[in-house]
């Protein structure tokens, strides 16, 4: 896989409908096509529709003394030129992410993990490295339902949270924690994601068949910060502080059809807001379960 090109010259197109996000991948690189389809098999559709994000990955020309670069474009904009074929799938994911805010202007897009539990939407905003993806996957194993690990998509008019069930990207240092949750990573393909290094993808449907959450109102906004060996703790946050912090992780504060600040203010009016110091993943999950009123797993099992 490393640095090898597939010999196929025919372009293959795969369309997917990931919740409210539609995308298509066109590439002659068969290994990429196969990896993408394997990750999103339940979401493959016949046609992505006219408003889909269109990602193309084409091998670039080969120059003497230089390695061949791939060209990753999204909606005809060149986004990346990776060299290695094991960089391609993370770059495709990344390219789709870049286009999501532009493709859905009637949503406010936050950099956050988002989940649904018992019909309540939970947003975990945070920058890369805050532990939001690991926490989302951990909560998923305990019965919470997945909306997305990188985005909270809030409909600007209804203020409802919608799913964008992309695969969860796990960075190498997080492998032991994820495996301690019972999610098997060994044997999955490794990919390289820029400066983040080696990553593996896990789709929530591999964790649970009923893993994908439904559209729901936002009831909790929780800002996680991972601190090694810390005792997990929640500290209340005023709604103004929460809205201010959310605006700092908003991708389209000015590109949304409504003023982003107004949407955020309305969202926090209906939500409880906290800062979370997360440490041990199991105790952190237990703390959040107490917050939302009991174990989601029990609710799921008794439903």
């Amino acid at each position: 896989m490393f640095g090898l090109l597939d010999r196929s010259t025919s372009r293959t197109v795969t369309h997917v409908a990931l919740g409210v996000v539609r995308a298509s991948l066109e590439t002659p690189v068969q290994s990429l096509h196969d990896g993408f389809r394997r990750l999103y098999r339940p979401f493959v559709t016949e046609d992505a529709g006219g408003d889909a994000i269109r990602v193309r990955v084409m091998p670039g020309s080969l120059h003497w003394g230089h390695r061949r670069r791939f060209r990753v474009t999204a909606d005809d904009r060149l986004r990346f030129e990776p060299v290695r074929s094991d960089e391609l799938l993370p770059r495709v994911e990344w390219a789709i992410n870049w286009e999501v805010p532009a493709s859905l202007p009637h949503y406010l897009h936050l950099h956050a993990s988002s989940l649904e539990v018992n019909g309540c939407g939970v947003i975990l905003p945070g920058h890369s490295g805050s532990g939001k993806s690991t926490l989302a996957l951990a909560l998923l194993t305990r019965g919470w339902r997945y909306l997305c690990d990188e985005f909270a998509l809030i409909q600007a008019d209804s203020l409802l949270l919608d799913p964008f069930p992309r695969a969860v990207c796990i960075k190498r240092p997080g492998y032991p924690v994820i495996e301690s949750l019972g999610v098997r990573l060994t044997g999955r393909p490794h990919y390289v994601k820029g400066s983040k290094g080696y990553v593996r993808f896990v789709h929530p449907l591999e964790v649970r068949e009923d893993a994908i959450g439904r559209r729901c109102p936002v009831r909790y906004v929780i800002f996680p910060t991972y601190v090694e060996d810390a005792e997990p703790a929640l500290a209340p946050l005023s709604r103004a502080e929460a809205a201010f912090a959310m605006h700092q992780v908003c991708f389209n504060l000015f590109g949304c059809r409504r003023l982003g600040l107004d949407v955020l203010a309305e969202v926090v009016r209906g939500a409880e807001c906290y800062r979370l110091t997360s440490g041990d993943i199991h105790r952190t999950c237990a703390l959040l379960e107490r917050l939302v009123g009991g174990s989601a797993q029990q609710v799921v099992r008794s439903a």
Partner: protein, 114 residues
């Protein structure tokens, strides 16, 4: 006020009623978007695309920056409304008005008086 208005140490003292420029009879800008949340507020300035977080004290002062009261009157109002001494109120008012001024949240002094 985040971006640390409320938490900052007091600015250089300006006696009540003797502020200069925009802070003497401070008048809040009306062309900014304000979202009140539980007694605090977010203020969005479209001209700079900046958002400011006002804590309860800053927002209380913001609301009475009407261009008719000088800093002394605002401090008196704050002291009468909240459980705070006149001295402390004056200190809060001076410090927060300085912040408002630095962030261009007040009308400029050459504006017509209210």
């Amino acid at each position: 006020m985040d971006r640390e208005t409320a938490a900052k140490p007091a600015m250089a003292a300006v006696p009540p009623g003797e502020g200069t420029g925009a802070t003497r009879f401070p008048r809040r800008r009306t062309d900014v978007r304000v979202q009140e949340l539980d007694g605090e507020a977010l203020v969005y300035d479209a001209t700079t695309a900046d958002t400011h977080l006002l804590n309860a004290t800053a927002y209380a002062i913001w609301q009475v920056c009407d261009g008719r009261r000088d800093t002394g009157a605002i401090a008196t109002h704050l002291s009468a409304t909240y459980d705070v001494s006149a001295e402390d109120a004056g200190e809060h008012v001076r410090r927060i008005l300085e912040e408002f001024d630095e962030r261009c949240l007040l009308e400029s002094p050459d504006q017509e008086p209210a």
